[in-house]
Symmetry: C2
Subunit: 357 residues, 2 copies
């Protein structure tokens, strides 16, 4: 049983191989060769004022690789208003840290194979997933990228996008100028040949961009429908960053997974700012068009066409994550960690038993 850190995962995985392994998994998924497990969110009170405890379980199995992954998040969650918009903020109450973990099991023997924090894998899988959508839906000649958000998920979006298109200019907006300039400085150091601009208005940021990637914790839409111009491809990392009005301004919408949908009830009633937010879940609201959209599984399998014309406005909504993404990326990182001898190895016997339970 191997314990890896986020640093280990970062060191072991590259974005192109994450894109490749996820693509292989989605193709098996389209052929019914994977196991989807429903995501489960459990909420209960915590003694932290204005916050609640949330335990999220996401699982999935990929028999071809003989793995089953369980990703959990064990969070204290609040919903503050920041820069006029409601956010979902996880409080680092575990000695100043957060708790998100991936448990990898063998579907051939049952054994627990590894445990690692979900942060690095999370960033890579979301970046890789949106990059796969971008590959199929953005214009071939896309050269200008707008990123809304400047957290570490934004970094994953940039990393994935650069694998699929030779972007020449990247524009970054976020509501927090300090985070934004730190993000831009870091990105400039990482990608020295790229023009990276720090922009203090969301509208100005997206104006003229070929691709817009939202990567925020916003619980409300992050851009206006009138800002979408012909030929643009838009993507987001959570359903709440877009809404039905914005999607109605797109010619075609592809979501991540239709087999699952996000429920409004993963927020605790009575928490400050929860009620107004619940009313905004467009995917469950009357008149929503969620059922009309195709998903990434069908796009990768070729059952849904990619971009049809240079003027089409396309949108990829990463509506919900799935345990299968962790199974795919987790299988890869464990294989590489074993070969490289990286991580803490603990006795298998600590995590198995001699009684038939």
């Amino acid at each position: 049983m191997r314990v890896l850190s986020n640093e280990d995962v970062d060191q072991l995985l590259t974005m192109p191989e994450c894109i490749e392994v996820l693509g292989a998994m989605y193709r098996d998924c389209a052929n019914g060769q994977t196991l989807h497990v429903a995501r489960l969110d459990s909420l209960c009170p915590s003694s932290e004022s204005g916050a609640y405890y949330a335990f999220k379980q996401m699982a999935g199995a990929w028999p071809r690789r003989g793995v089953h992954a369980l990703r959990i998040n064990s969070d204290i969650i609040s919903h503050p208003v920041i820069a006029g918009k409601i956010r979902r903020v996880k409080l680092p109450k575990a000695n100043g840290r957060w708790v998100g973990l991936v448990f990898m099991f063998s579907s051939e023997t049952g054994a627990l194979l590894g445990i690692f924090p979900d942060g690095a894998v999370q960033m890579l899988r979301v970046g890789a997933t949106n990059a796969i959508a971008l590959k199929h839906l953005a214009r071939e000649d896309a050269r200008t990228l707008a990123i809304i958000g400047s957290g570490w998920q934004a970094g994953g979006q940039l990393m994935g996008a650069l694998v699929e298109r030779p972007f020449e200019q990247v524009r970054v907006y976020s509501s927090n100028p300090d985070n934004r300039s730190a993000f831009v400085a870091k990105a400039k150091a990482r990608y020295p040949g790229l023009e990276i601009l720090d922009i203090d208005s969301a509208q100005e940021c997206v104006q003229g961009a070929d691709v817009i990637m939202a990567a925020t914790s916003s619980m409300v839409r992050v851009l206006e429908p009138t800002w979408l111009k012909p030929g643009v491809h838009l993507s987001c990392i959570k359903s709440e960053e877009v809404d039905q009005a914005l999607l109605d301004g797109c010619d075609r919408v592809v979501v991540h997974i239709k087999a699952h949908s996000k429920h409004d009830d993963n927020v605790m009633p009575g928490t400050p700012n929860v009620n107004s937010e619940q009313e905004r879940g467009w995917w469950n609201a009357p008149g929503n068009r969620f059922a009309e959209y195709s998903d990434l599984v069908q796009l990768v399998a070729g059952n849904t066409p990619g971009r049809k014309s240079p003027s089409e406005i396309t949108c990829f909504v990463n509506n919900i994550g799935i345990g299968l993404q962790f199974a795919a990326v987790g299988a890869l990182v464990l294989d590489k960690a074993r070969s490289a001898g990286i991580g803490h190895e603990l006795p298998d016997d600590w995590f198995s038993e001699t009684v038939h339970p």
Copy 2:
């Protein structure tokens, strides 16, 4: 983060304190002060012939103790016919061992507090749960106990029963004579003052017993309705050990938890012996009376009366386990392990992270 073994758990916990902590949890449960989480069973093919991979998730939170527990089983399962009856058998494919684990989290900070195999806790929680039912439903003057089954769960049943009534004679039947005599020898060594009989017929075993406890892996009923005499209390550790005809022969039936029910779909279609077994799930079959029965939560809370007369035939069906049992017993064992300095302590930082996932 503390890793405990089954031996640690066995050394730290006693049956009376498990009964006590579960009783406190059930009382909070009756008052809506606990979190039930639906049990999730995921099945996928494994390359083992005639078997499949099953991943079971059970979770529950007990805010009063600030804990959330997740118990998982990662099993390769087959359904052989043994002694003419269909069993559910987990194959020890993890280097000759089984994989069932309990993960304990703090619902105050989110932190992973501990990991331990589920075997010892499983036996204690099932033994304690059936003992609580026995306390309320068996005759006060019960002195003769019949146990059907001779696996380690049977040992937990005996241990729990002895806490609640001063039994003088214990009769043991199981279809495997070798297991049975080994069980009897071990029990005689453990309880020297007790008369313990090895009996080679199920009917003879239960004849005249005041309490009958089934503790088998049988997928079909383990005794006949005509064997039930006035005043007896019957219990089982899984729904399949009884059926509707047997329950119809009882004056009163109490199940473990009505908030959850066991689904028939936790067995993989196409596995040998699965079809006939699925047809036998009495709790989902037409004409079943599951909805009429009360549960242990209501019994402990005093909302359902205990035994009403010396002649009543009562039955406790431990229809399904719940994550909350692991939360309660797990909180206790972790507290005791910390005080006693028992187990392997691993750095908390291995199981948390510095990024907001």
